[in-house]
């Protein structure tokens, strides 16, 4: 479809599929995942991130990487026919928002996984490392904080974001900003330990 390396589309498509299935499993949901849409969204994501790379060579942020990828999940909606199995932290009503929920979890999961691998700009990590304090374990503090943020006040922020993702304007830059803010908020070392 686009001028992008097909080897990367194949690999990242498979990776995306694997992570989506793991998230569905984790929230106790059975669903159909359309692999053609996964391939499509991977191509759109790569096209975007290559374009950004040309403008910001060597300085593409981790938040943008995962934000753009998650955006295309939210946009193309590869998940359908969701059925919750017994106990799930997702309600039946929220299950209608399964693509948005998975997209958000996907961004968190990927950001946590890729932190510390290097290659992408992560200003929080850079400052954390030079803060003179014990640097936090790369992905763990972020993931813990994100979970806390999304469960805060009975999931107030979570529901607000999921709703906006589906029913309001929600672009890849919104995603990127959200992740940047979560990365910053998660790092206790940056705030002089005042929290």
């Amino acid at each position: 479809m686009f001028h992008i390396p097909h080897s990367q589309v194949a690999f990242l498509g498979a990776e995306c599929h694997r992570v989506i299935n793991a998230i569905l499993d984790e929230i106790n949901a059975d669903a159909d995942v359309n692999v053609e849409l996964i391939a499509d969204l991977t191509q759109f994501f790569l096209r975007d991130i290559y374009r950004i790379d040309q403008q910001q060579r060597g300085a593409v942020s981790l938040a943008k990487l995962v934000g753009y990828w998650a955006f295309w999940i939210r946009k193309l909606k590869p998940i359908s026919n969701v059925v919750l199995r017994g106990e799930s932290r997702v309600s039946n009503l929220e299950a209608n928002y399964i693509n948005e929920i998975v997209a958000l979890e996907f961004a968190i999961e990927l950001a946590a996984q890729y932190r510390g691998n290097g290659g992408f700009e992560d200003v929080v990590m850079a400052h954390c490392k030079t803060s003179g304090k014990e640097p936090c374990p790369s992905g763990e503090c972020f993931k813990r904080y994100a979970r806390f943020y999304f469960s805060f006040s009975d999931g107030f922020y979570y529901r607000y974001i999921i709703y906006s993702m589906r029913n309001r304007t929600f672009g890849p830059h919104h995603f990127a900003l959200l992740i940047e803010n979560l990365l910053f908020g998660a790092c206790q070392n940056l705030y002089g330990g005042q929290r």
Binding site: H3, I4, P5, H6, S7, Q8, F11, L12, I49, Y50, I52, D53, Q54, R57, G58, V60, Y114, N117, G119, F120
Partner: protein, 294 residues
């Protein structure tokens, strides 16, 4: 004349035997591909013993343990010595010994050049669209050896890539020794300290690294020479080369040493390493790094 299709098997078989036998070559190179007229259009236009004298084009990739200038220069020296044996083998089996000029043209290339489709003849698509026959495994890569060219990356790094291309060209000339022993790359004993092309390559690197605001620096040969002197001076492994340049700069010597072809090759490989260090990593490289680590 050899019938269509069979010549490629003969060539590949000879390469396989030769490559396996030559540990001085196979410890520095890990892939050998046949490309060009011997393989395109089922070899219909491959006429090695005619007036036109088709070459056998080989792409040889430096192995991973051969990434520094000195190692690559050594690898090329070994290949240059061993290549005559390969040519003799192919000439005997394919042409009944009839051929004077060099038969095998080698494109010696690093993984980096291949990955970014940097080609001495300004044809990046050669690596994405041409047929490459793996001489060691017999496999045909009809869709090229890489699946992407970042044209913007080429433009961004035009000076660095230009130096890399120049080095690739010189490798090709260095390895081109006719059957009567005549080398296409000549030793240099001109009035300048080093060949003008090398100074030009030095000027391009100096422009990018030290004077990016000064557009005239791109072509200022004296800056190129100064840059090269500085580069060699701090490299222990280039002590001998630096001394040759130092003596060549001193006009009162009764006999100035000339730059031998091995020296010229090493000089280009040193510049290659500097050029290679200039481009920032692209997102494509970062993602491929992840894929490799997985």
């Amino acid at each position: 004349m050899t019938s269509l299709g069979t010549h490629i098997d003969v060539i590949a078989e000879n390469i396989r035997i030769w490559f396996k036998k030559n540990s001085d070559v196979n410890k520095y190179f890990d892939q050998v591909y046949i490309f060009g007229s011997a393989i395109n259009d089922d070899g219909r236009f491959f006429v090695p013993n005619s007036l036109f004298g088709s070459d056998i084009d080989l792409l040889m990739r430096f192995s991973e343990n051969c990434q520094g200038a000195v190692e690559r220069a050594q690898a090329l020296r070994n290949l240059r010595e061993a290549k005559g044996d390969l040519e003799a083998r192919i000439c005997t089996t394919l042409l009944n010994g009839r051929r004077e000029k060099s038969l095998v043209s080698v494109l010696a290339i690093t993984d980096y050049e291949l990955y970014h489709s940097i080609h001495k003849g300004f044809d990046p698509k050669i690596f994405t669209m041409n047929i490459f026959h793996d001489a060691l495994t017999g496999e045909n890569n009809s869709g090229g050896l890489v699946d992407y060219i970042d044209f913007a990356y080429h433009l961004e790094n035009i000076e660095a890539f230009s130096v890399i291309r120049a080095c690739q060209n010189v490798r090709n000339a260095y390895l081109d020794v006719s059957r009567n022993g005549e080398s296409r790359l000549k030793s240099f004993d001109g009035p300048d300290v080093i060949p003008k092309e090398v100074m030009r390559a030095g000027a391009l690197l100096n422009y990018v690294l030290n004077s990016p605001q000064d557009k005239d620096a791109r072509t200022r040969l004296i800056d190129g020479l100064t840059f090269i002197n500085k580069v060699l001076e701090i490299r222990k492994e280039c002590e001998r080369l630096f001394e040759i340049l130092r003596q060549r700069q001193f006009g009162r010597l009764a006999k100035r040493p000339c730059l031998e072809v091995d020296d010229i090759m090493l000089l280009y490989e040193v510049l290659f390493d500097i050029a290679r260090g200039i481009p920032k990593k692209s997102i494509r490289e970062i993602i491929d790094g992840f894929i490799e680590n997985k």
